[in-house]
Assembly symmetry: C3
Homo-oligomer: 263 residues x 3
């Protein structure tokens, strides 16, 4: 790739120098890289939320992209750094489940433990593997080294239990919230494709003390403040309210359960 | 252009993957693009504030820049996507008035409705035209396709009524706030050039219960905490306070009216 | 440099158009520049915090990088714009002490007052030297002009006192806080190397009404909630508490003074 792309996803925030420092390290190794922020506002240590953001975004990047994920509560412990390859994309991350949604969606995924310390920045600090391990490895990949040079294949990368809704009774599913976006739209873990029949049948979805009973095709066709379901661009059903915040209306958080009754 | 520039202005915030996703799409189409964030912290659906930010910034970019604006409360409805061309710059945006301040400032502006769906990402989602329509169109423009290939010229793009101050009486104008910046400086809608004579004559400007009666040439010449008017870099008169926040002192918001009395 | 790097450090925040505007100006001058954000969330006018972020990050960028720092409470006054050169890096900043920590750490640093107004953007505004002076100068440097063309060498750049504790009496030093990190660790301005002897002698450090009397080699050797000193990765002594936040315990802010008594 003449203009290799590296996407960055961390929980470092934007008020510290950490992300900029990683970029400085990468440009020293791969000066032509296109460094694209996915987000750095993942809540600290929130592996599930990072996994969701990555799952939403990675396919929209060009093949050859290196996705660098540093949400790493286990830094300094013995958790492995890994590289995964799938559909022409590369993923560099700690082995803590943050790639679960990638593994779930692709057919063939080669995963390696990164052991080739010759590509690390020296000395490797105890607390900032983003700068000393993950960033330089991502930049070397973007520059063209073969993943096989980084370490041996492994068969047991960590897969986290990110929920699909659980069936509680013949007509009752218990789901959860994957993400609340800044507009207050609530991304559920009901996959749109699986639940498309909802639009054509009576149902009742309950979140806190609020009920939703309609799937609409677009925001404009809803009444102001009405809560409704919509097939969001995420691939999951989203609870939304027209030009207002579904989160504020329902007072939900990422921990709030969602119940679906088919009537 | 060998290194085409695309500026991005949205209300997507930086904690979601939306902006990164749009950038991934664009780099797939135009790998050499320089992708520059104008801001993504525009309050949700705040067309006027986005229009102001764009108006302030666009001329400082090199000719040939494509400005991509996605503040789009009407996504999914029938509002048109448009492209405008003025002074060598291109603007890709929903037709909702967000380009009003561009239209106001330039002499010749060619505007087209974007209808050439061959340049869109398929399938086009109901909720994320930024990713599926605006970003790919901006990237194709940056790569070199002619605007004429995107759709036909229109004569009636939406122009929003962003206020200039209204004259209430021979010596009384009623104005408004365009923006409060993070330092607490209050950008009024009094155009500096039009109101330059204020510096040489007695006046009283009222905002909440506070009065300003002086225009100063620079921050350093004001007393600490004094409220004063200054010709800001915005082209509008700004209410400022030296090394403190004019917003905090006046407890104003973007909705607060401003009254000017010539004495 | 074929792909020159410019790092940006400001207190402009990310909700305004200021940073984007500076980038537009720079790309007009140096279209191939890699523009990397260090941070723009430095608290307004916080020269010490900007100096610390810069000191932590700059060495991780490739040689040849131009570091552009615009934290500039004196904009519009007569403070000088300067360029410093050290170890292959260039720094463009207002002369207000923000480069103090660079000066302290390098052996040979050439500093020039920037007077070559031919490289400025015209007209130069009173309030936005970032756009009109610092950004264009940084871009011209990135493009290859020699620093000597920007102005004459000076011997008296401002060195701020925040970088070192002040000796008040033979056994009494008065120090300050450079940064409180997201875990509540308090980075003091006591340089680890200089104060290494503290570990071997009795002392009492006071912050608000709290006392620290021990330097530990690692977190594990401290008692839960005990406040202690540790050599942080920043190069400065840090006040930490095992399994809790030293900031929350001491209720300190960046303004809180620190007193050290050698016993």
């Amino acid at each position: 790739m003449k203009h290799p792309v590296i996407s960055l996803l961390t929980d470092f925030g934007s008020s510290d120098h950490y992300v900029g420092t990683m970029k400085g390290v990468m440009l020293g190794i791969c000066p032509t890289a296109q460094l694209i922020d996915l987000t750095h506002e993942t809540p600290a240590y929130a592996i599930a939320e990072a996994a969701f953001a990555l799952a939403q975004a990675w396919r929209y990047f060009p093949k050859g992209t290196v996705h660098l994920i540093v949400v790493d509560p286990g830094v300094g412990s013995s958790r492995r750094p890994i590289i995964a390859e799938a559909e022409g994309h590369r993923f560099v991350a700690p082995d803590n489940g943050v790639l679960t949604m990638v593994f779930d969606k692709v057919k063939n995924c080669s995963v390696r433990e990164i052991t080739a310390s010759g590509f690390f920045r020296k000395p490797v600090s105890q607390t900032f593997h983003g700068r000393d391990i993950f960033a330089p490895v991502a930049a070397h990949l973007a520059r063209g080294i073969a993943p096989a040079r980084l370490g041996k294949r492994i068969q047991d990368p960590v897969r986290a239990g990110f929920a699909r809704p659980v069936q509680k009774a013949p007509n009752h599913w218990s789901g959860s919230i994957l993400k609340v976006d800044r507009f207050g739209n609530i991304v559920t873990n009901f996959v749109s494709e699986t639940w498309r029949h909802l639009a054509a049948r009576p149902f009742r979805m309950k979140i806190n003390r609020h009920f939703i009973s309609r799937v609409t095709a677009n925001y404009a066709s809803a009444k102001p403040n009405e809560l409704f379901l919509i097939e969001g661009s995420s691939g999951y059903l989203e609870i939304s309210a027209r030009q207002s915040s579904a989160r504020d209306q329902t007072r939900c958080s990422v921990q709030t359960p969602i119940d679906l009754l088919l009537l």
